[in-house]
Symmetry: C3
Subunit: 348 residues, 3 copies
């Protein structure tokens, strides 16, 4: 797919400065510009790149006035960033779409397959499963009995969904995601061994949730582990049984949420954060990477850091002071000595 | 499946208070009660829920006397909690069981398949594999050559077992578990590159071990990585080469154990705990979430916290003191000033 | 496969002390010696094991002179360690090699399969894929369209490679690895929801890289996520979009590298280390387990520890001082009291 500057400018309702017939076939960042690629300049901080970029076309804001000559053809638009995002989506949407149902998939007769759904090779779909319209079930996916998958859901290769779980519309699960494995519930026995507690609940994932590769969401002991609308979860995250994640909350990679904890809406957790079980985290809580939270957070919109996590600014001050601890010990010991000396002097 | 209060009371050797013909078809927590569900009340802390629960039937202890009217039918038993657990297991056991060997699996001729074993679609079973009675090999599982799988083992979809590993009876591996991938062994070369050290050992997993989704247990360089009887390991855990995990030890999600370390029996590690390589951890050691252990723990039954981890209570005191560090610095500096002033005064 | 002491000594250019016809069929560590196994003694620290090992043959350095009788047959060589490594590799290389293309794999017609390549059961290989000579594609692997796989690459069962990624020669990916899933990029919207930013880049993995089980390497937003020649990455590691890993860098399990960060060459990170996004880490940086790095590291060859990480020795001193914090608080409070008393005394 190749597009001329003119065509792109038309689509964006922009103006070409330079060669209207300049052609691009891919997109790049302005600092990594390459011939045949389209880039954009929005942040003034990156302006110096535009004078040397090898990108063929650069989208810029209407009011951009170059200081010197620019090798690339420019397209001036109202908002360079959002115009570029539009082109990115157009580019993505023009990629050939997977379709059809592979003869090499194993699909139970009782499965209801929505119109336009794709099912790849060696996928296994169990009994009484319902799959929405235009859903994409990639190769080697496993879907247990009685699972429901919404319209336009995308399950990348190797996703495994245990029985009875429910996924909404526009849910995207990346390769290796496991939904609905047993929660970690064992009753300690008098002899030191453990007895498994059956996990008869399920997992419910609402619309527009996206989950990264190899992340695990365990099924509830009873009831449901719930991930609400629009939540975005990165790779290798652990969501334990009976957890509830609020709408539009965002977790970076390797976060772990222990059992029965309830996370509010619009929260944002950095990588490797750990949250204890049976607590609740208020809406809009932001937690710095690697922090640990052991108790409920009740006030909304706080920014937390540390393990145990508390107000991020206070933590940062303490963390800086931590570095001077060896020095603190020395100072205290010299204070003690001086004080002793003073006392001695006074008693003389 | 629907059951009447009468039938359940008969099974539990209990007494119905209310409507004997009340019917339930699922189970729930008393605080999340729903019509048609069976709940239980054991902990007095939850008693207030029983007066408003929508559960149709509630199992209670024999000596429970309500303060006011209860909408649900009650079943009085000796021990409400263990009776409920019994019903939970009955419910679980009545679910249809997977059985038969799929024609879509690829099974080497030299594989010995135990009586009653199930093998799902697109599973691959290598040469000279021995699979126990009633074992369940779900779809898309891979079992390498010379692997042994015990009776009643359950390998959920997508489990991968490298060659020569040995699994005992009643072992349960959840989806995406990888057993026997190469240990991480590379010899540094003079030019800064690394030379792979062949990993010719295997993994041995004893009876009644359960391992959560996407957890990895690497094969030994030589000899075996060993997980002993009854250990329970959560999702996304890393067990490195030549590690040994003692009987009935329990690890929460995202724990990592580095190479050649030996963990005692009846240990309990919280989520995201990290243990260094080539050390040993005494029996009954409990380690708080996110803690890190760098040196061997020699005394049994300690509770540890922090990184590096030490006695949990001492750590907690220090962690509280940590918060006041900026204050400590201020106090020290004002002490220094006051002392200087005093000295000056005295020398006047 | 059984080998006599004589045959092994010939191969290693060594000398047999004891029974030339002694036979071994496997290898073991000297401290875990077992009959029929070959062990080695190189480090004098382990010498006491040689007098009691059950190993049948032990490789020792030329100059080794036993203090007392040794039950095992010895083979004296120039360098016991490297001779043993040689045998280990020989042993490994003699294992039967996978070969052939399974009729149960699904391979697009437009796929170019190199000479001697192996493709296992239920593997899926997309359109316009190029697979190198002698590459091994194990069962249940997924390879998306337009992927390139180098010569002698090994993709263990269940590896998933999204479209357009590029793998060099001698790359080894263990079971469950996911290469090229979407980077975690979402633009916040005024209503608190998130809008997905298409991830149109790819992943490039250079020659001789090895990646452990269930590790994830996400595709770039634009351009490439790059893992350079000879890097070794353990299990359950997270490499985010647009990250670059330098040559011969080594990451232990559960490390996480956030987006757009650049790691130098010959770095070494312990388990569970976390590195923030959009920073760069100098060549030869060593980072202790569980440490967190929030800012760029500019000087080469430093050893760092802590979160936030800084000079490891300084950190260790501070960590020791941390333990005495409750004591520090007490001392400060008693200093304050004594000082107050002194002042009072002086003012009297």
């Amino acid at each position: 797919m190749e597009f001329t500057a003119e065509l792109i400018a038309d689509f964006l309702n922009g103006e070409v400065i330079g060669d209207k017939s300049a052609k691009v076939s891919t997109m790049c960042k302005i600092e990594q510009g390459e011939p045949g690629a389209l880039a954009f300049l929005s942040n003034a901080k990156y302006e110096h790149y535009i004078y040397q970029t090898k990108a063929t076309i650069v989208i810029v804001n209407k009011d951009f006035e170059p200081d010197k000559e620019i090798p690339a053809t420019l397209i001036k638009v109202e908002n360079a960033y959002s115009s570029f995002a539009k082109i990115l989506e157009l580019y993505q949407s023009m990629k050939p779409q997977k379709s059809g149902v592979s003869a090499l998939a194993s699909i139970a007769e009782s499965c209801e397959l929505g119109e336009g759904a794709y099912v790849g090779e060696f996928a296994v779909i169990g009994g009484n499963v319902r799959i929405g319209k235009n859903a994409k079930i990639y190769p080697q996916v496993y879907i247990g009995n009685h699972v429901v998958i919404g319209d336009n859901a995308v399950l990348y290769p190797g996703v495994k969904i245990y029985e009875e779980c429910v996924l909404g519309d526009h849910v995207t699960l990346h390769a290796g995601v496991v939904i609905g494995a047993d929660g970690f519930g064992f009753a300690p026995q008098p002899d030191g061994s453990y007895h498994k507690i059956p996990q008869i609940g399920n997992v419910v994932i609402e619309d527009w949730v996206e989950i990264g590769a190899n992340t695990c969401v365990d099924r509830a002991t009873m009831g449901s582990t719930i991930i609400k609308k629009g939540a975005k979860i990165d790779d290798l995250v652990m969501i334990a049984h009976n957890v509830q994640i609020g709408e539009h909350s965002v977790f970076s990679a390797q976060v772990g949420i222990a059992g029965s904890t309830k996370i509010g809406r619009n929260c944002m957790f950095g990588g490797q954060v750990g949250i204890a079980g049976h607590i609740s985290i208020a809406d809009g809580t932001q937690i710095a990477s690697q922090s640990g939270v052991a108790n409920s957070i009740k006030a909304d919109n706080q920014t937390l850091m540390g393990a145990p996590a508390y107000d991020a600014r206070s933590y940062q001050r303490a963390a800086i002071a931590f570095k001077s601890l060896p020095d603190v010990l020395k100072k205290i010991s010299s204070l003690e000595k001086e004080l002793a000396r003073l006392k001695e002097e006074m008693n003389r």
